[in-house]
């Protein structure tokens, strides 16, 4: 059993009771809500004549089903079922007194982008959402966990979930990242090393030189994909990078309160002599940009490495099926593999820093004529910040469609979908068959910089071979400096 880790400390602070089923009742400090997984839970509450117990600890946004064109967002939405879901969320949040960032609010966006950037998510919290990528919030040193709809009902009714404490695995990532290589490459590499089921039963504590050097956007991307590695939660101990990011965000404490709060944040960091259930080391020194070749997120190679023979993989049968689907050839590299679509955005890589990274590659270049390219900011705040800096012009000039915020082509619950057997260079998190809306579609996961390079070349390309702009836009923007917040 672990002892003295952040996970142990935060768990202890939030434990309400021992339950008869042997689990702990754990208090939830922040419940993020969206339109797809909540209406059934609100329905269950009504059936039981219960009310939301902690509306102040609850924040809602709409992201999964929303159109990303400005015309498409006029009400009622053209898709009747999407309109119904949105209407339910509007009514449910109003009835329950839950703060809601809807389509008429310019801070609307993906729950896992909005929560952090507005200062709702802070170190030492427990965060849940009916979405598996709630692991994202571990980037602050919070425990973020995805939950199902029946558990959402539990949180609405009791502010708690019934949960088992997991084993804590320290994932020590050593080495220095080179130019053109970042957080997305690190986490794809970790999943490749530890497997898509490697984290089952565990929470990952990421640490080491390569993690410390990441900015908050990078840390959010790493923790975001913990779930792809089978770990329901992954976190990074808070440090000055965390505190600097939080300072000035609308719903974070200010002034003296901020300094006081920092004492709590410091107190929940894992102790120097903390005990872990397991420690693994992953070497990221000199790591190449990573690209997925298959249909699950451990089927990944460096862009300059050959795609493995099925027999060399953990699951040869699955690898063979995957390679037939993606039409990649073992022995060849992913470089020069042609793409039809370039997709930038999502809860993994839809933040200001991600678009800056892509823009540095795109500046002065054009998207290949045969490539359909979408840039979908993770939130209205992200979009306005990039527009204030003039970075949106880099995307528009290059030939990217500049869209409104939402989950978009990550899971294609709106009109943004792959068609037929299109091949997509994607900054998203899942390359499952059919994930991007077409059962024949092919998804290759990669970093925002690599997506930009693929868009320009019409094929997967090692971004390290590109001369990139030192700086794009005015470079002044803080994502919240312009955002009106009424915390």
């Amino acid at each position: 059993m672990s002892e003295g880790t952040l996970y142990d400390k935060v768990w202890e602070r939030h434990k309400v009771a021992d339950l008869p089923n042997g689990q702990d009742q754990l208090f939830i400090g922040l419940h993020l809500v969206h339109e797809v997984t909540s209406p059934q839970a609100f329905g269950m509450l009504r059936e039981r004549d219960m009310e939301v117990a902690f509306p102040d600890r609850t924040v809602a946004t709409t992201d999964h089903i929303v159109p990303t064109t400005s015309e498409g967002r006029e009400r009622p939405l053209a898709d009747e079922r999407a309109e119904e879901m949105l209407t339910h969320l509007e009514r449910n949040t109003e009835d329950a007194g839950i703060r809601f960032f809807g389509l008429d609010d310019d801070r609307q966006g993906i729950a896992h982008v909005v929560g952090p950037e507005l200062g709702f998510v802070q170190p030492g919290m427990t965060v849940v959402c009916g979405d598996s990528h709630t692991s994202t919030h571990g980037a602050f040193g919070a425990i973020g966990m995805g939950i199902g709809t029946s558990q959402i009902r539990d949180v609405f009714a009791t502010g708690s979930i019934s949960a088992d404490k997991k084993a804590v695995r320290r994932v020590e990532i050593t080495g220095e990242l080179g130019d053109g290589v970042g957080a997305k490459d690190v986490i794809l590499h970790v999943i490749r090393e530890l497997g898509v089921d490697g984290g089952v039963g565990h929470v990952y504590e990421y640490g080491g030189e390569a993690i410390r050097s990441l900015d908050m956007e990078g840390r959010l991307a790493v923790c975001n994909m913990s779930i792809e590695g089978g770990a329901r939660a992954g976190y990074i101990n808070p440090d000055e990078t965390t505190y600097e990011y939080l300072e000035g965000r609308g719903f974070a404490p200010e002034g003296e309160a901020f300094e006081e709060r920092k004492e709590y944040w410091e107190s929940i960091r894992s102790d120097e002599d903390a005990e872990y259930d397991d420690v693994v080391e992953v070497d990221a020194d000199g790591l190449a940009p990573q690209v997925s070749w298959g249909t699950n997120p451990e089927q990944v190679v460096g862009v300059d490495e050959p795609v493995p023979e099925p027999a060399e993989t953990r699951d040869p049968e699955a690898a063979e099926t995957a390679q037939a689907h993606t039409e990649v050839t073992p022995g060849e590299t992913m470089a020069e593999h042609e793409v039809d679509v370039a997709f930038l955005g999502t809860c993994t890589n839809g933040r200001v820093a991600d678009f800056r990274e892509a823009a540095r590659v795109l500046a002065g270049r054009a998207v290949d004529d045969d490539v359909r390219a979408l840039a979908v900011p993770g939130s209205g705040t992200v979009k306005r910040t990039l527009e204030a800096e003039g970075i949106h012009r880099v995307f528009k000039d290059a030939g990217f469609q500049w869209r409104e915020a939402g989950c978009s082509m990550c899971l294609a619950m709106n009109d943004d979908a792959l068609e037929g057997d299109e091949v997509c260079a994607s900054s998203s998190n899942r390359n499952y068959v059919g994930r991007q809306g077409s059962t024949e579609g092919r998804t290759h996961l990669m970093s925002p910089a690599m997506v930009a390079a693929a868009a320009v070349e019409g094929a997967v390309t090692d971004v390290r071979e590109f001369d990139t702009a030192d700086e794009v836009g005015s470079g002044s923007g803080s994502p919240v400096a312009d955002a009106e917040v009424d915390g």
Partner: protein, 216 residues
């Protein structure tokens, strides 16, 4: 029908006092095998069918794409071939990916009451617990043997015993593991945790008040 005809389910109809749900000690019936590791919830329930404000229709959408050929007609997918089964036999890391409860809801509404497999993704398993679907983790060889058995004798009876953490078929008893909390919850009929946690609401409020960040 083979000699191993399914025995009746041991789901008691009477909820225990103070709970809204019945206890589940055993699930008996026939099997349906779905082979493959790392089957994700996007395969189990494709995202385009999540656009509904209730779970009522999810049974129709379980493995929707995999159950159809290119022309949209039903193929020989196990969910088409083994209609009426209630014990699903799977392999490693079943239900990985998205947290969508629609996935186990779809399987449950199709008819699944218990799942035997090598391992289960965590959120999926939690969702099964919330819905009263028993999951039994067994060794790789046992999972494959059960799948082979079901394919060879589709009508043969299979029984998952939650209390004993076993699956019985073909005259043998294979030991496995039901997570402790799921086992207790199913046996005691308290797998719906809302009511029991609601009794601790004052304590939850006290935790809320004790946390440094809740007065923002």
């Amino acid at each position: 029908m083979s000699d191993d005809a399914p025995v009746a389910d041991d789901r008691s109809d009477e909820p225990r006092e103070g709970t809204a749900v019945p206890a589940i000690r055993r699930v008996a019936g026939t099997g349906v095998p779905i082979r493959g590791d790392d089957i994700d919830t996007d395969q189990i329930l494709p995202a385009r069918f999540l656009k509904a404000v209730t779970f009522d229709d999810m049974g129709e959408y379980a493995f929707y794409d995999q159950r159809r050929d290119d022309e949209g007609t039903l193929n020989d997918h196990p969910l088409n071939e083994f209609q009426g089964a209630n014990v699903l036999a799977v392999n490693d890391n079943f239900g990985c990916g998205s947290s969508r409860e629609h996935a186990p809801q779809g399987l449950m509404r199709w008819g699944v009451e218990a799942i035997v497999g090598e391992s289960f993704a965590e959120i999926f398993q939690d969702n099964c617990k919330s819905l009263g679907i028993a999951t039994l983790a067994v060794d790789h060889e046992d999972a494959v043997d059960l799948q082979d058995f079901i394919e060879a004798t589709p009508d043969a009876g299979i029984e998952v015993d939650v209390r004993e953490e076993t699956v019985q078929y073909d005259g043998k008893t294979v030991e496995g593991e039901v997570p402790d909390a799921m086992r207790e919850a199913l046996l005691e009929g308290i797998w719906d945790t809302t009511a029991v946690m609601r009794t601790n609401l004052d304590r939850a409020k006290a935790v809320n008040d004790s946390l440094p960040y809740t007065d923002d």
